[in-house]
């Protein structure tokens, strides 16, 4: 029996010219409903194991599609019994999906992490300092989400939703922070699928 593994929802023909393969090297296809399309591949089971290669394949599909399309990303391992079930889910969530695509259309998710590499001020002091200084980044963003500080060395872990037209301004603000905080090392990444800013509750 073949199940349907979904990667994201986007607009029709989003796979045109896309050569990337899905999990396990399976070909991708679109499941269309009105003016949206779910990007999917076949799966052997309803439960996917979270192996590094498969998770990487899922991320690569999203990364590739994100280059030319607006996507509403699905978490790894969203598998449906068949296309009928998937279409019913899309039908029920159609308005939320459309709203999400419209909301994300001209925006990009960017991430900034900063860690302490030179001992000096205490980490807690630096966290407060950078929180204040990062207001500069907040000003260039539509929305922000604070991530968990998963390391004692981490002083900043934040996701930003930025208008595409504002990305240059945002990048300059990050450079400014880097100059100001020489004792820190920054990791500035993106654009990412907007996991931090869109949540679709299924079921």
């Amino acid at each position: 029996m073949s199940f349907v593994c979904v990667y994201c929802i986007s607009t029709p023909a989003c796979l045109k010219g896309v050569k990337v393969k899905g999990i396990g090297g399976r070909p991708l296809y679109e499941v269309a409903y009105k003016d949206v399309s779910a990007v999917a591949s076949q799966a052997n089971s309803l439960v996917l194991e979270a192996g590094d290669e498969d998770v990487e394949a899922h991320a690569m599909v999203l990364k590739t599609l994100l280059k030319k399309n607006t996507i509403v990303p699905f978490a790894y391992g969203m598998v449906f019994k068949d296309e009928e079930v998937l279409l019913s889910v899309i039908e029920h969530g159609y308005k939320a999906i459309k709203d999400s695509i419209e909301f994300l259309g001209d925006k990009a998710e960017l991430g900034v992490k900063a860690i302490v590499v030179k001992e000096g001020n205490g980490v807690e002091g630096l966290r407060q300092e950078i929180r204040k200084a990062a207001e500069l980044l907040d000003e260039s963003a539509v929305s922000t989400v604070e991530g968990r500080l998963f390391s004692d060395k981490l002083v900043m872990n934040k996701a930003f939703l930025v208008e595409k037209s504002n990305v240059k301004r945002f990048s300059k603000a990050v450079e400014e922070l880097e100059r100001k905080f020489q004792q820190l090392k920054f990791q500035y990444t993106g654009p990412w699928p907007a996991y931090n800013f869109v949540t679709l509750n299924i079921g």
């Binding site: 992490k113 860690i115 590499v117 998963f150 390391s151 060395k153 981490l154 090392k185 990791q187």
Partner: protein, 95 residues
């Protein structure tokens, strides 16, 4: 049986030094367990290791070695947690 007695004494407000000492030792043991076999903490260390590597603060060799070690720790922690869960379930069945 000991645990029931210990708890019972505590509820009754009776303090027996030997039991108090054992109680403290149990808490220390629990704390040590939760520190050593905490999958979230180990996953956090893996994320930190990855970040330090990506930022050039750790060599590929150091990163790989640390990651393998942490993966082993994570597997052990998950196994220990599974066993503890099994024991707890067993207790409930007995009750």
């Amino acid at each position: 049986m000991f645990i029931v007695d210990d708890v019972l004494f505590r509820v009754l407000g009776v303090s027996i030094p030997a039991f108090d000492l054992l109680w403290v030792l149990e808490r220390v043991n629990d704390h040590a367990y939760s520190e050593k076999y905490n999958p979230t903490k180990i996953s956090d260390k893996m994320k930190e290791n990855r970040l330090l590597y990506e930022l050039g603060e750790r060599s590929a060799r150091e990163y790989g070695k640390m990651q393998r070690q942490l993966q082993e720790e994570l597997a052990i922690a998950n196994e220990v947690l599974e066993r503890i869960k099994g024991e707890v379930t067993g207790d409930y069945k007995l009750l």
